[in-house]
């Protein structure tokens, strides 16, 4: 039966390929829309909510949140490190963690902080940094550049890979984070003192005028202040965990009234971001819906054409005495094979698209796991599969019980 089914499929390969192609596109678009929107939402939720207050220089709340939670966007500027000590001494916080950003390693942001930022994140290899010029790298960065504990990495000035290199001050990798599927996978973490040391060194060279920073002197000197390159004693933000609601209220009140600072609740900002994501998701779903309807129309037309052929063939087989049960099984095998191949290709195509989109989404601070398959994706595949094979199955079922010929011949 299977051998005959395969031979029969071979005779209809053009139509089957067209059907399969339409099903592949339909299913892949549906999978991609669902997977990417779910991963983006999960990434946002998982990354935030570790801190209830973030304090930075005055400016945009969204920029501060995106910068500190997802390591994207430029820092708003700098604030004195003394604020960390002030908060720790206040008795209102369980943790006040310095945050500094402005350099990068192959476009991956280098975050100056302390080890508490990485609490709850497992190390895949090595150990946490303990001294200036040591670094822990995120999983994706380590994978992409083959970094292992003990390796050195040279950071560059600014957040793009074409900045001036701090070649004379390489960082030593002490550990690699386990995969988190968050922005942490795409970053390098080092004590905040490393950032100060790098820029103190950089400025000295810059003043001498003998290194590669020369070309950027004027331009970058401005950026240092404007975009948060933290010099000694300055940082870009403080991430705060308050001791409770009372402490939270007092901190919001105390620092909210100081014009040099911007104080935000990341969860509140996150909700606003999520609202925007939800709107985007609805737009994406709408567009996908249009594509799905168009493809389902194409699939239906092809299925109807196949049905016409199938009806003739079924009538022919019935005439020579092939039972309806066998005929149903013959078409079921062919539909199942075509559907299974189309589903596998759709799954593969959607994963390839996810891989291709990783870079784009990484810019938003979200790391897409292209190999992650949600249970609902199987349901989507099943639904598209049933929609594509249903017409033939219905037709063969309807032909059961009829006479093989009708009318005078």
């Amino acid at each position: 039966m299977l051998r005959f089914a395969l031979k029969h499929m071979a005779t209809r390969r053009a139509k089957l390929m067209m059907t399969a192609l339409s099903v592949v596109i339909t299913a892949a678009v549906a999978l991609l829309a669902y997977n990417i929107s779910t991963q983006v939402s999960e990434g946002i939720v998982n990354t935030a909510a570790k801190f209830d207050i973030i304090i930075g220089p005055s400016g945009s709340a969204t920029q501060l949140a995106m910068n500190t939670m997802f390591f994207t966007d430029k820092p708003l500027g700098t604030i004195p490190y003394d604020l960390v000590e002030e908060l720790n001494a206040s008795g209102l916080v369980s943790a006040a963690i310095p945050f500094s950003m402005g350099d990068s390693y192959n476009a991956a942001p280098v975050v100056g902080t302390d080890a508490r930022l990485l609490e709850g994140k497992a190390l895949k290899r090595g150990e946490m940094f303990d001294a200036p010029m040591e670094a822990v790298v995120g999983w994706a960065v380590a994978s992409q550049y083959g970094l292992q504990p003990g390796d050195s990495l040279v950071t560059t000035h600014g957040l793009s890979s074409d900045g001036a290199a701090h070649a004379e001050s390489p960082l030593t990798v002490t550990g690699v984070l386990a995969r988190t599927d968050t922005a942490y996978d795409n970053a390098v973490f080092t004590p905040v003192s490393t950032i100060w040391a790098l820029h103190e060194h950089g400025h000295e060279h810059g003043e001498d005028g003998h290194d590669e920073h020369d070309d950027h002197d004027d331009h970058e000197a401005d950026e240092h202040d404007e975009h948060g390159h933290a010099g000694e004693g300055s940082i870009c933000a403080v991430l705060v965990r308050s001791t409770g609601f009372d402490a939270y209220s007092k901190l919001m009140s105390a620092y909210g009234s100081r014009s040099e600072y911007l104080i935000i609740n990341p969860n509140t900002v996150l909700r606003e971001v999520m609202d925007n994501v939800d709107l985007s998701r609805r737009i994406v779903y709408l567009l996908c819906g249009v594509i799905l309807v168009m493809n389902l129309f194409v699939v239906s037309v092809i299925a109807l054409l196949s049905l016409y052929d199938a009806r003739r063939e079924i009538a022919l087989m019935r005439l020579i005495g092939i039972s309806m049960g066998r005929i149903n099984r013959l078409y079921l095998i062919q539909n199942a094979l075509t559907g299974a191949i189309a589903m596998a290709l759709a799954l593969g195509l959607s994963r390839l698209c996810l891989l291709a989109m990783r870079g784009f989404v990484a810019g938003m601070g979200i790391v897409l796991n292209a190999w992650r398959v949600y249970p609902k994706e199987w349901l989507i595949l099943l639904a598209v599969f049933l929609l594509s094979v249903a017409p033939t199955l219905i037709a063969t079922a309807r032909m059961a019980g009829r006479d093989s010929v009708d009318g005078r011949s």
Partner: protein, 219 residues
């Protein structure tokens, strides 16, 4: 033995054909002749069970075959009836061998295919797609598909329609030889072939066509 009793079939346009009762003995070969449209092919379809009579029945060895379930009619047809259709009813995109092996889906033994194709002179075409064959070649493939299962009844609708007289005569001879004691009922338009058969029936005299209005009047 095949016997028809009070056979009447009504078509979707309201017209119908009533047949006089006929009887076909086992091992007998019978030629059915008659004008185009007189109901010869419909009669074969009724005998084969691919069309259900509106009234009356077809009895096979004393059993009312028209009352059988479709499953039983299918099973009887695949095992015992070799039907050669006027328009061949072949899967055009598949090869000659595939068209014959189609019967294996129902457990028919097709191991004698090469020998049969050789006897029909089309062994060389075994792996060729049907759509690339001439009308005469297709007819022989249809004959091979009908004969491969050594049926007890062979129903042939114009089996020589696409052949010249000499070839047609050879095909009829092969059909009679391969019937192997079974019953052969063949529709033909070529009077010259009639003497080859044990018996001839003029369907013009047996099949009575009724227009829709006439059917209504009788109803």
């Amino acid at each position: 033995m095949i016997q028809t009793k009070d056979l009447y079939v009504r078509f979707s346009d309201g017209s119908g054909i009533r047949y006089d009762d006929l009887c076909f003995e086992n091992g007998q070969s019978c030629a059915m002749i008659g004008a185009s449209g007189c109901g010869k092919s419909t009669f074969l379809n009724l005998l084969a069970g691919v069309l259900s009579p509106t009234e009356g029945c077809v009895e096979i060895d004393g059993e009312n075959a028209s009352a059988w379930s479709q499953r039983r009619r299918d099973a009887y047809r695949i095992r015992h009836i070799g039907f050669i259709f006027q328009d061949f009813k072949l899967l055009e995109a598949m090869t000659v061998a595939d068209n014959i092996n189609l019967l294996r889906l129902e457990g028919v033994d097709t191991s004698g295919m090469d020998d049969l194709l050789d006897r029909l002179g089309i062994l060389r075409l075994k792996k060729r797609r049907v759509q690339r064959l001439s009308g005469g070649e297709k007819q022989r493939v249809a004959i091979a598909r009908a004969l491969i299962k050594r049926p007890s009844v062979i129903l042939a609708d114009e089996p020589t329609g696409n052949l010249n007289f000499e070839t047609g005569e050879a095909v009829v001879r092969q059909l009679i030889e391969n019937a192997g004691g079974g019953t052969l009922i063949a529709v033909t338009h070529d009077d010259r072939l009639v003497p080859r058969f044990d018996r001839a029936i003029d369907m013009n005299a047996v099949a009575h066509f009724c227009e829709a209005e006439e059917v209504k009047r009788h109803a």
